[in-house]
Symmetry: C2
Subunit: 261 residues, 2 copies
Amino acid sequence: MQGKNIPKKVVLAMAGHDPSGAAGIQADIESIAAAGCHAVTIITALTAQNTASFQELVPQQSDNFRKQCLSLLSDITIDACKIGLLGNLVIATVISEILDKLDVPVVLDPIIKAGTGKLLTTTELSTYISRELLHRVRVLTPNCAEARSLTGCKEIYQAGEKLLEWGCPHVLITGADEETIQVTNILFTAHTDPVPYQWERLPGTYHGSGCTLSSSIAAFIAQGNAIKTAIEAAQEYTWKTLKYGCRLGHGQIHPNRFHNS
Amino acid sequence: MQGKNIPKKVVLAMAGHDPSGAAGIQADIESIAAAGCHAVTIITALTAQNTASFQELVPQQSDNFRKQCLSLLSDITIDACKIGLLGNLVIATVISEILDKLDVPVVLDPIIKAGTGKLLTTTELSTYISRELLHRVRVLTPNCAEARSLTGCKEIYQAGEKLLEWGCPHVLITGADEETIQVTNILFTAHTDPVPYQWERLPGTYHGSGCTLSSSIAAFIAQGNAIKTAIEAAQEYTWKTLKYGCRLGHGQIHPNRFHNS
C-alpha cells in the first residue's frame, strides 16, 4: 500500500493506442500497474483496429508529441522507459531526442506488424531502429519475425548476435510466432552465452502479448531488479496473463493482466 | 480469476488522454480494471498537461474517431459506457450518433475545466451537453462548478432539479470543489428526495478524481448493480484512491487506483 510520501516507481510508455485495450498503451498501463508501478504515457499513434483486423494508423503530429513529452518530463521523474509502436520516422527522431535527455533504462519492443498482420513499419523506420535507436536501448524484445526483419538473418542465433553487435546489450527474442511445440524465448547478452527459456505453448493467438512483456520488463527494472531477473519475472507474468486470457472479441484473445485479482 | 470462457464485463470509455496518467483514459482504464471489468477506449482528444498546468488540447479528427468506434464496436460487446472530455462539438455529435446505436447505460462526467484550471468546453458545447447528450445519459457526475455552469443556477439543489428536468434520471453532484469542512456529494433521482453523502475532506488537491468516480460507477453498473448501489460503491472506492494517493508530480496528487494491491 502506497502513502502520499511513498511514491511508486514511474515507467514512461511511448506507444500506440489500441481501442480494444488488448495491446498498445493500455497493455502498458495495466502491466506496469500490475507490477506495482505507475505508468505515464505518450501516444505515438492512434489506430482503428480490433482483435481481428487493423484498419488505420494515425501518427501524432511530431510537434504535439514533443510538447506532451516536455510537459510531462518537466513535472514527473521517470525510473524506466518502454517504447512500443513508433508511428513514423519523425516521431522516432523525437523519441531519440527525448531519450538523450533521460538517463534511464529503456526497453524497446520493435513492432513491425500488428498482431493481426498489418505492416506498421517502413524500411527506413526499420533502418532507423537498427542504426539510431538500438544503442540507446537497454533491452530489445523482438519476436522471431521482427529479429529476422531487422537483421536480415534467417537464423535466430545469428540475428541475436547481430542485434548485440549493433549496440543493444540485452536482446530477448521471443518465439511464440514460430511453429514449435513449446515456445522458446532466447536471451542474448553481450559476452555471455545465450539463455533459452521454454514455455508451454497455449492454445489460440493473443493480442498484446509483446506489449505486456516489454512493459513489465521495464516495470521490474524500474523497481531496481537486475536485468536478467526482470526479464525472467516478466516472462512468467506474461505467460500467466495469456493462460488466464479472456476472449472478448471475435479474433485474438485478450491477455488478462489482473489475473491475480 | 477469469478463464477464457468467463469473459469480463466490458466498459467503453470515451475520454481525453492525460500523459501524467492521473486523469483521462488512464484513470478510466485503471478504475475499470480495479472493479474487475475490462476497459475499451476511444480517445476524444490528446493533451499536453501535467499535474500543475495545462498547455494544449488536440481533439481527434472526427472521421478517425468514428472509424475507431465502428471498428471496436463491430468486434466487442459493451456492457456500459463512460464519457469524459468531449474534445469539441463535432466529436460530441459523433458520440451521440454512437450512443444511439448502443443500448447500454451511459455515465457522463461533464468536464468543463481541467483539474488545473484551464477551460476545456465552449458555451456551445455546454449547450449541446444540456440539450442533446443529457437525455441519452443514465448518470451525470458534475462537480458543483460544472452543475452551476451547465444550468445557470447558483443554488445546488436547484441545479440538480434542473438537470433531472433535462432528462438525465440520476445526477450525482460532487462537492470536493466547495469550501466546506466535509465533502458533500448529493444524488438527485427523478421522483425521489435528494440523498446527501458526507466524506472526510482529505488534505491537498487531486488530479483525476472525477474520472475515477465516473468510470467506477460505469463499471459497477456494467456488473449488474443497481444505480444507487453503484454510485455508493464508486464513491467509497474513489475516496480510498485519494486517501492512498501518491505525489508523483509537483502539482496535484495522483489517485492510487490500486491501493489494495
